[in-house]
Symmetry: C2
Subunit: 251 residues, 2 copies
């Protein structure tokens, strides 16, 4: 029990130290701000409280790139005689799981569709995604990263994800690219992703999960601190979600 | 000035709240530990303080894979008449920069060496690296990730990095792989990397930088919280660095 008291006292002591640090740094910051007034050209964000940049992690498949639509198109073209799952009947994150339920061979065929050379590069951008990503990246005080998980048969997938970015957003977007099977260890404020349950080595993750609506997750109930984003069109409210979070991290 | 006082008082108030939380959670934890004594089979780590896992990020080139050695070998084989930089004369992180100093054409040739198909897959493991990585991954309370930056001409590099992992550590290591040009946003406790200055979107990063000794960084002075690791052989002390950090994050 004595330990607990000691620990609390140390904590309080530490924060009395921080109290003096705040005092000193505030003085320092005020000096800096005075200087900035004369050197910087009308920044969009007030430098007064030195807000830090909001880090937004954007998933690719199902958020920027239309994985589901291309998958169905290719499947129906390649196997016109086989049963398929219309987009409006999709449920569950893994499309192949639903196809396996139609038969072992159908599941295997489904896997083959997105393991094929060219599949990931051929994905069409989701409506408004490219414009939104560009606008976001241009926002002052916002850092955008692409945070995407390659499939296990990575042979074509990993390079095509880079090529897709090149093609639709430009070569310089490679600097923002993060390929990882575990997104929990990426240090963002928001992760915009269509996968409902994202788990990994870090629990809880640093980021808040923005569940991006896709055919397969329309009926999923939000959990924890999740919020939902229904698309990239102007009325979807993505800017509000970013703005709220930016205020939250800087308050 | 009054604001500063208010802020400090709020901080102290907050930590008085934490004080009571510590008290409550300690009681809760003690109950849990009691239960564990009868249910868990002799864990290597005492569960008493519920320590969290240490996250170690391992760079590939220059840490697991011998980039410098293979580069020089290929360069000399391909351009036997051209000047080159012996390993013991290497300085500066970017090998091509030093080759450009020998002539524009030499620099261009140097670039070509590691942009060639097969280069990244052909790299030899650094002595002891594979054994150390395996041992680390098997350690209780340690999570290992591979954290590596692809070169800008990513065509062969990205897929070969995955293939290299497959070949030397096994398919399941793909789950640990993080490809990123910005390592500062990866949430680790230690980053073992041979690049002396690692900057990016997050400053300071979450991790402590363990500078892995390479020909090009032997004479670099450590800065900030950096520590140095001279190799993967038993006497190099990598286990001590991990153990110290694990204690630090759980104290």
């Amino acid at each position: 029990m004595q330990n607990i008291h000691q620990r609390a006292c140390r904590k309080i002591g530490k924060y009395l130290k921080i109290y003096s640090d705040i005092f000193n740094s505030r003085l320092l910051r005020e000096t800096t701000v005075q200087r900035r007034k004369f050197t910087s050209s009308s920044p969009k964000m007030a430098p007064r409280n030195s807000p830090r940049n909001l880090r937004v992690l954007l998933d690719m498949d199902g958020v920027l790139a239309d994985f589901e639509g291309q998958f169905l198109k290719n499947f129906r073209e390649k196997y016109p005689q086989d049963p398929f799952v219309p987009l409006e009947d999709r449920s569950g994150f893994y499309v192949t799981k639903q196809y396996y339920a139609l038969g072992q061979d159908i599941g295997t065929k489904a896997f083959g569709i997105y393991e094929e050379k060219g599949f990931f590069l051929s994905l069409q951008p989701i409506e408004g995604a490219i414009e939104a990503a560009r606008e976001m990246a241009d926002m002052e005080g916002v850092d955008v990263y692409i945070c995407t998980s390659p499939i296990k048969k990575y042979t074509h997938c990993v390079v095509e994800k880079y090529q897709w970015l090149d093609k639709h957003l430009g070569k310089e977007w490679m600097e923002r690219m993060i390929l990882t099977r575990d997104k929990t260890v990426i240090n963002g404020d928001l992760l915009i992703d269509d996968k409902p349950n994202i788990t990994g080595g870090m629990s809880p993750p640093q980021w808040q999960h923005v569940l991006f609506t896709s055919w397969h997750n329309r009926d999923v109930t939000l959990q924890g601190g999740q919020v939902r984003l229904d698309g990239w069109l102007p009325h979807s409210g993505w800017r509000d979600i970013l703005e709220r979070k930016r205020q939250e991290i800087n308050k």
